[in-house]
């Protein structure tokens, strides 16, 4: 990849988005865990649960600050680096971002201040309400961001308007209830819950190994293990749903994840292991499990999943159809306000869905209509994403997902048997598992977004056509600026996290509050 403006803009977006997502999953999950812990405190009146809420809340705050700071970068960057994208799809894509701010981020950001500053200013139930508002706000935030992202993967409810030269919304309900967005939302927030659960579990395991803060650590582990188990199962179920939906909406992404070069007779086999070779179009040393891919991808035994080579041929046809639409569009535009011939109108309406495919040719020729057959073949080849990257990212992510289920089952059983501190080896595994959810989460985004290439909006707008007309050196400068600033911040953040964990909870010496109900027996 030579360092052109497209590559640099993509690099900057990838860096800032992956960095932002280092902080988001912990915010999503820890907010809910804090709300659960504080609910137990309010219901039982046991002070240790308040102490737990404050302790994990302190770590939450360190993480939250950078999440907020880097979130604004994401929102501004569409306009800064992707101005043609912003013009082309702002009519649809902008709405969920604005709704996110109104419905979710205001709630989260307004109440997070009360969470930290309101302990002495609010009643118990009042403070609990603030905590739940933070949890609700952060999760609703994720909903709207994934509605926006889901539309990039599966652009429903919209149509191209030749007069304004952009996509415009035709059915907003379809955009909101986009099945891809809904599956992605649950998959992503569940992944956040797993991240927070593994974090709480790992830090608590470290306390048990050191023999410190035992009461706090055991209770935290119990909450984290059961919450983490439910979430880890949800991640896999909804991940499977996302995969199933890809069969419908993003066939190329699915084929690339599977390194499935040729269409196989149904039901297709799943490749567990192998070395995909993009040049040779084959997977070396592949280990297959028969039937599994067909079952996961189509939930049937007789539906074929198209392979990469077949999809490239299919892309060629769509490019040709797109060229018809492109030509009709030029005629409609040059006609201005005068009416065009019905044949031209019909040509645009019939082929308009493939207009985006003709834009893939812009990389090779200024006027796509002048493209040679060879250029059309090259553009069709471009629709294949980087197969080895997707193949491996996906497998590591799924492997980690299964590991989290095993981990959470183990600790749920240990907790039920009151044996959390009986097996030091398991505790050590929990400590070393702390970074793993972050790896899985980042790889998830690699699969989702790298797998969407060469499209910024699947089938509608190629990434290369979406960038701003900026100088490469300008963008290189801001990349260096972001990397420098972000590196300093993460070093400081990690330092403060480690100090926070080492310091442990603040002593809470206030007398036990009165139980609000004598029916509820506090857990020991």
């Amino acid at each position: 990849m030579e360092l052109d403006i497209v590559a640099l803009s993509r690099l900057q977006f990838a860096i800032t988005a992956l960095y932002h997502f280092l902080f988001i999953p912990l915010t999503l999950g820890l907010a809910i865990l804090l709300a659960i812990m504080e609910t137990v405190y309010v219901m039982t009146g046991r002070v240790i649960w308040r102490q737990m809420t404050k302790f994990w809340g302190g770590l939450f705050g360190i993480n939250f600050a950078i999440g907020v700071a880097t979130g604004i970068v994401m929102e501004f960057q569409f306009g800064m680096n992707w101005s043609y994208y912003s013009h082309y799809v702002g009519d649809i894509f902008g709405a969920p971002l604005a709704i996110e701010a109104m419905m979710a981020f205001f709630l989260e950001a307004t109440f997070v201040g009360l969470f930290f500053f309101g302990w002495d200013k609010l009643s118990k139930v009042g403070h609990l309400t603030a905590t739940w508002c933070v949890a609700l706000g952060s999760n609703l935030s994720a909903l709207w961001i994934l509605v926006a992202n889901g539309w990039m993967q599966n652009p429903v409810g919209s149509a191209f308007n030749p007069q304004t030269m952009r996509m415009e919304v035709t059915n907003f309900a379809e955009v909101v209830f986009n099945p891809v967005a809904q599956a992605k939302f649950v998959h992503t927030v569940s992944a956040g819950y797993v991240t927070a659960s593994v974090f709480v579990l790992g830090v608590s395991a470290w306390y048990l190994l050191k023999g410190r803060h035992i009461a706090l650590a055991k209770r935290s582990m119990t909450v984290a293990a059961s919450f983490g188990l439910a979430s880890a199962l949800s991640v896999v179920v909804l991940g499977d749903e996302s995969g199933y939906l890809s069969t419908e909406h993003q066939k190329m992404k699915l084929a690339a994840i599977e390194a499935m070069w040729e269409t196989e007779p149904a039901p297709a086999a799943f490749t567990v292991f192998g070395f995909p070779d993009q040049e040779a179009r084959e997977t070396h040393y592949a280990v297959h499990i028969p039937w599994v891919m067909g079952l996961i991808g189509t939930r049937s035994l007789d539906t074929e999943i198209p392979g990469i080579n077949e999809l490239v041929e299919h892309a060629k046809l769509r490019i040709k159809s797109g060229l018809v639409a492109y030509d009709a569009l030029q005629q409609i535009r040059s006609a201005g306000t005068t009416e065009v011939a019905p044949a031209v109108k019909a040509a645009f309406e019939d082929n308009g869905a493939d207009l985006g495919y003709s834009l893939l040719l812009k990389r090779y020729v200024d006027d796509p209509r002048k493209a040679t057959d060879e250029q059309i073949s090259m553009a069709a080849e471009d629709t294949v994403p980087n197969v080895p990257t997707l193949f491996w990212s996906f497998r590591v992510m799924v492997g980690l997902g299964i590991f989290f289920i095993v981990l959470m089952v183990t600790f749920t059983i240990l907790s039920a048997r009151r044996a959390l501190d009986h097996y030091p080896l398991l505790l050590k595994i929990a400590v070393f598992a702390i970074p793993l959810p972050w790896i899985a989460g980042e790889l998830g985004w690699v699969v989702a977004e790298f797998g969407r290439q060469p499209w910024i909006i699947e089938g509608v707008l190629p990434t290369a056509a979406a960038v701003s007309d900026l100088g490469a050196s300008t963008v290189l400068m801001t990349i260096i600026g972001f990397v420098a600033l972000y590196t300093v911040l993460i070093v400081i953040e990690m330092g403060l996290m480690v100090r926070g964990v080492q310091k442990g909870p603040e002593p809470d010496n206030e007398p036990e509050a009165v139980l609000i109900s004598t029916d509820i027996v506090p857990a020991e």
Binding site: I62, A65, I66, V68, A69, G71, I72, V73, E75, F78, G79, M80, S83, Y84, H87, G90, D91, I92, G94, A95, L97, A98, I99, A101, M102, F106, L107, A109, T110, F111, V112, G113, L114, F116, F117, G118, W119, D120, K121, L122, N161, Q163, T164, M165, E168, V169, T170, F172, A173, R333, S468, D469, L470, T474, T478, G481, L485, I492, E493, L496
Partner: protein, 385 residues
């Protein structure tokens, strides 16, 4: 879905133009006082305890305040996509500087008191100063450039090209004047906040600096008006105005000339209310700071901010982002909006949620009402920064 036909496209565009102003004023009035507080931090607070008192005045609320900016960004994207696309990429390096400053702010608030080292704390104090001063300055500089027109043009695909918008071109004298006006107006407002939330030396210093800022606001606002009359070309339609046509800026023709930015005040004399509010509010804030009107000073400074921002919008109406090199590419209220349906949907969402936001924000400010407790800060109790 045909519900959106209930409100004319023209009216929706007008409503969203007003809402754009409401959001910018919302950010300047809420986020503005903590930017102003940040810019005042090194000057009004000398000791560590004093600095922590200042930081804790806005500590619990700045996050919510900043969402007004996030919402303004999102709403511009949703309701005025071409404006979002042209301004954010056209002011690329300026936006980058704002982002860096805004990134320093949350971490500054959160991390400053996590360690005892003096160097650590003083480093974050400077970060908070930059996080307040730099965005205040750049937002003003950007507005100053918008008033003069930005050098961009659109091709027939509506792709945006910039014709030499370098960072240095943006830092021209008129834009810098607007930048200083923005800083002084937010410092005036921040001082109003500090005298409300603190006592003693800090409040006294805030009043002193705030009074200077109020005077500067009056002077710079007047100079800005004179400069606009004498040196800045306005823009006007030379083709018939179509208010409900498709959002394609290239369908019109535009001419530029001196004094055009003042035409609206002749056509609609009621618009004079905005600049008058700008002055009267600042005079009221000055009087409030001198006479120690603890509770009402901020109302006056908020009024001044509302007047000054509205003056910019009203002077330019219906233009929202003129192009200096290719005037017909200029973005206006009538040709740079989202589709009829999107504007309608977003209006429904705003009508439902903005009152809810205002309600719980008011409640939170009510809970946090009162001066920052210096004793609690000194003893490090009560979860303060």
């Amino acid at each position: 879905m045909i519900l959106h036909q209930l409100i004319d496209y023209e009216i929706l565009r007008l409503i969203w133009w007003v809402l754009l102003g409401v959001l910018l004023v919302g950010f300047a009035v809420t986020g503005g006082f903590d930017l102003g507080t940040g810019a005042l931090l090194p000057f009004v607070a000398k000791t560590d305890v004093e600095r922590r008192v200042v930081i804790n005045t806005s500590g619990p609320v700045w996050e919510g305040n900043q969402v007004w900016l996030v919402l303004a960004g999102g709403a511009i994207f949703a309701a005025w996509p071409p404006l979002y696309a042209v301004s954010f990429s056209g002011f690329y390096l300026a936006m980058f500087a704002i982002l860096v400053a805004l990134i320093l702010r949350p971490v500054g608030f959160k991390y400053r008191s996590k360690r005892d080292s003096a160097a650590w704390k003083s480093g974050w104090d400077w970060a908070l100063f930059i996080g307040g001063f730099v965005p205040a300055l750049i937002f003003g500089v950007a507005i100053g450039n918008v008033l003069q027109g930005v050098s961009f043009h659109l091709n027939s695909d509506l792709r945006i090209f910039y014709d030499g918008t370098t960072l240095f071109e943006l830092l021209n004298p008129y834009a810098l004047l607007c930048g200083l006006l923005s800083v002084s107006m937010l410092v005036m407002h921040g001082a109003g906040w500090l005298q409300l939330k603190t006592d003693g030396a800090i409040a006294d210093r805030a009043r002193a600096f705030g009074s200077i800022a109020a005077v500067l606001t009056i002077v710079l606002f007047a100079l800005g008006g004179i400069g606009l009359w004498l040196f800045v070309d306005g823009y006007g339609f030379t083709s018939a105005i179509v208010t409900d046509g498709p959002s394609n800026p290239l369908a019109k023709t535009v001419a530029r000339g001196t004094g055009i930015w003042f035409n609206n005040y002749g056509l609609y004399p009621w618009m004079m209310v905005a600049p008058i509010l700008g002055f009267v509010g600042a005079v009221g804030a000055f009087a409030g700071l001198r006479a120690k009107w603890e509770r009402t000073t901020m109302l006056w400074s908020a009024l001044s901010i509302t007047g000054i921002i509205s003056t910019v919008g009203l002077s330019m109406f219906p233009f929202i982002l003129p192009s200096s090199v290719d005037p017909k590419s200029s973005l206006t209220v009538w040709d740079a909006s989202s589709s009829h349906m999107t504007l309608f949907i977003m209006l429904v969402v705003a009508v439902i949620f903005v009152p809810i936001i205002l309600a719980y924000t008011t409640w939170v400010y009510h809970v946090l009402w009162g001066k920052v407790d210096v004793v609690a800060i000194r003893d490090e109790t009560g979860h303060s920064y």
